[in-house]
Symmetry: D2
């Protein structure tokens, strides 16, 4: 920790801050500069209370940490990328996996048709929401348990592992055994109670970045999962909220490059929720693979214009097939295999 004092402090002010620093378990080293005095507090920041409370002392101008707050997900601790087994697949290796499927599970026929089509085009995992967190209480909230049963039947029929969002702890019992990857959505990205409950299941997790989460907060959410016993975490960038409204969110591909560099977990990209419009999904998918992503999650629907939710960003089967073809040369350029 670095503590910067305001000008005009006395020697006794310095000693007072040094005393507090020692009380909190750090060793102070004071450096008097030309314009400011700086106290370096030596100690492991993650093992002691934060010194940020010292900012309340009137003579303290600023306090800033110098360590990273995440540990177990950091490449400093574990340099190699974690690979995550899901059925026969391995996420995080040199195969680029594409999760595809509709926003919401609507019917068995809808899911089966979609699964067959996306599988043929090259998707390896199937997505579909049974529990939908919706902004308005008047919007379609998902089929719930019935939706899970549909996912189970389609999984049996096609052999595709299932990715589906969990919105509350009490749904987990019914999801386990059916859902292969539990998705934590952007709205629950800082719901730490849910993260702890999901960690306890040991089931692989697709962890979306919160709509206004910093990269550090996203990695700390992953740290919650790993620290609580579940190392099978896939990060997923899905766009952040900015002033730009031509797209629903702003896809932050720098965050993908940075997360790949800082963190040992695989990183996926969700171009559908990022753009909120189908016409940009293919271009953003190519950019995702080029920037270093390990996979994609893409919304595909048999007839987007009648979808129960998020129609405007879902691809038709034809658009998805085209996306996969367009992706192929970029996968090769990135030295990744498409399934």
């Amino acid at each position: 920790m670095i503590i910067v004092l305001k000008p005009g402090h006395t020697q006794s002010d310095i000693e007072n801050v040094e005393h507090k620093v020692r009380e909190l378990g750090y060793e102070p080293h004071t450096i008097k500069g030309v314009v400011r005095t700086v106290i370096n507090a030596i100690g492991d920041e993650t093992a002691h209370a934060s010194l940020e409370v010292l900012a309340t002392i009137p003579i303290v101008e600023r306090v800033f940490p110098i360590q990273k707050r995440y540990r177990m997900v950091s490449r400093e601790v574990t340099p190699e990328t974690t690979t995550i087994p899901v059925g026969n697949l391995e996420i995080g290796g040199n195969t680029f996996h594409v999760i595809a499927g509709p926003c919401s599970v609507e019917s068995y026929e809808q899911m089966l048709r979609t699964a067959e089509h996306v599988k043929t085009s090259g998707a390896t995992l199937l997505r579909g929401g049974a529990f939908k967190p919706r902004t308005s209480p008047y919007d379609f909230q998902g089929l719930g348990v019935e939706g899970l049963k549909i996912l189970d039947r389609v999984k049996q029929a096609t052999g595709m592992p299932i990715v589906s969002e969990v919105v509350k702890e009490t749904d987990l019992k019914e999801m386990l055994g059916i859902v292969d990857i539990l998705q934590i959505g952007a709205r629950n990205a800082m719901n730490y109670s849910l993260l702890e409950a999901v960690a306890a299941t040991k089931t692989p997790v697709l962890l979306k970045r919160g709509m206004a989460a910093t990269i550090e907060e996203w990695l700390l959410a992953a740290e919650y999962l790993v620290k609580n016993g579940n190392p099978n975490v896939i990060l997923c960038e899905r766009g952040i909220r900015t002033f730009e409204k031509a797209t629903r969110n702003t896809l932050d591909l720098s965050a993908v490059a940075l997360a790949r560099q800082e963190c040992n977990l695989p990183v996926f990209v969700d171009p559908s929720h990022a753009a909120g419009r189908h016409d940009l999904v293919a271009a953003l998918s190519c950019a995702a693979i080029a920037v270093g992503a390990n996979g994609l999650i893409v919304e595909v629907h048999p007839d987007p214009a009648t979808a129960s939710s998020d129609g405007s960003q879902q691809l038709t089967f034809e658009m998805f097939e085209h996306l996969m073809q367009r992706l192929a040369p970029f996968a090769e350029a990135a030295c990744m295999k498409l399934a």
Copy 2:
């Protein structure tokens, strides 16, 4: 709903869209303009599926709703401000209530001293977190049930109603009977499962705005509570996340004015979390009352420099007393009583 077509459409394109509009339960009225064709879809948007799915039709350029999505919290439906009884107090009337207390419950002595001081200075409700959602799993997570017991004892000793954050459904049973106002924090502002569980308790709720929630999303979160049977909702603006980092968040007082105008619920302001620094709290509190807020929630700690969490934004007793004195003439200017 308004559907704008791209240039170059044919009559059959128009008929195709009109057909879809009818299928979704609306009546289309098509207006051919000089540059664009616009289809007005007549029908109650909150009673039918959204037409936004029509944006997937290639010839459709944009679709936008014209109705507001919240109903029960809207002044269009109920023009008068809801008043909420809490113990002997009434929130939302012409008394300006100040909730004060530490970020986290740390000990009985800490809570009791704080309660006595803030009560003397004019606070009418006591805050204190027993369950703390923290960005890092290595940070102090609150005393939990033990913290609730402390709150209960201090409530008995001082008669002050208690405001405390709920982070998961399964904690509710232990909170009820002790906590008078359940706080939904910014991180759970779109945790709709938790909102539904809290609604079922009928206990008054202080609903923080999410760190990147639009005003509409905030009012829709309130709609979740009211629609599920709990009309006792207090909105709370606590700053939004922006590019500016000199303050932790950017306090959005326009949102307070707008929420007061649009919505029939009382609106509080949390200047402590907005600023993230104690030196701006008093000025922002005065601005809050001037813009039309119904109350404040302010962090106060006997010794902020040793606080377990959020020390840098907590006020000392002396600072809080000064804040209340500074507030008094502005309350009078706003024709509000301070307790």
Copy 3:
């Protein structure tokens, strides 16, 4: 400056960085912590090259400055608030000044009627744009020099000092002598060439904050003016660009409180451009005075529904009169006089 090294560095890495630090004119003090090594570089950051270039050395993790970059506008250098004489008025003292008038100068009659009305209601300065920077080249760009002549006639007729925006250096000659306060708009808030040209005139300046300018960048823009010989600078907060679209911009009143605390210049608030809608202007004006602003700039138009620009945020005469009445008790609460 503080330089944090990555883990895994050698003694020779440290010496290499220390050498660079000395080359750039600073004295290095190296502190080896438990987890990180930190080099404190001692020297006046504003008098030497920035050490941020050292971030390019692979073993350097981060470099951060500890000094503030503005000097002349800082209360550390000059604690008292600068007062600025404009005609018979004094900006920055204990009178709260309201600048009012239309977005654009449209005609002599429009300006004269507006001036008379706003003066009667209590405004002390008149605004009106002759040169309008507009987002689209197809929008009304102002009357130009003809607009200046109208402003001059109205100034003679009413005695009100004139505030008008300058958009390019070559217009200055015609503006001087007519315009009493040159406004730098949000779009030109980082147009340093224009700031230097305006500084040379010594004419008082109303310096809007850029739509995405940090508080530090805003104060540094002021520093450009003061350093180049013009101490007569009034800061003006006008809302920043955020994700929230219910208001055109998000008025950042924390920035007003902070600028007042950090900087010795008077701070005005522009609630009209912040909100972009007339119905919030009065509430935000009251909040501005409560948070510590020294004045307001408000758009008023005889008939907003026919205005050439920005109609939706302009007040009618009646609305403005009401605003001034509503403001009065808050001015008193803030111990400020209204003219």
Copy 4:
């Protein structure tokens, strides 16, 4: 334009709005819906005054335009991508051009060495700032005219066309003849006076997106150039300002995909200013080509740790060479030639 009325309006309110609509040159078509009344105003929005002023009528709830505001840069008007001749090069065709060079011109030797190296690695144009707009008046402001002379000599020696930033109209005379592409920086992206002056030169322009400019505002800035007689405009995405601070800005590659789709101008990407850190530049460059960009502008310096400005984001020669090698397969995947 679409005008939405508030509930509770009378027939005479409707007629009043219809009357105003006609006065402004549009033809009103009123549709009474179940919950709202909507007035469709027919007419060319770009040829008449905006109806947004009608939002000031109390009974009007909202007014929104349905047309796009840019015309000449729109693919609706000119579907094919504009190609721009610069020396022997053609920008916007199927060659992917890389502009490289230091942030600031520092000396002839620095520029010459850089030019030779980046040319060998595959760059086709040379960048270097002679006039530097800097946030602080105490930072290095560029060598000015002396810098231009250096650029001229290096251009003669290497044959590389020169890209350099213009910050004020009065510098243009000295820049023309030396500078082949005038760069408009992010800080001047809404300096319409400068855009008009640059348009008059007919010299090709690299138009950076403003740090908080929407895509629409960026395209309208381009429209200023084209409408004023200069069709030789290259758009350049350089990151937008968001809450995320791990990168200096957030590179918005969705904006690149969207600008390519909407607009007939070539689009470049500046990964150096977007990231503000050298370690992400290569990954972002690959993503840029994958998303559909026509070229890059990258900062390269012989010794970034001694650079006069922006050191932390500049690449060494070796890093740049590596970037070009990494780019090659992605260029091929995108069916683009590297020079």
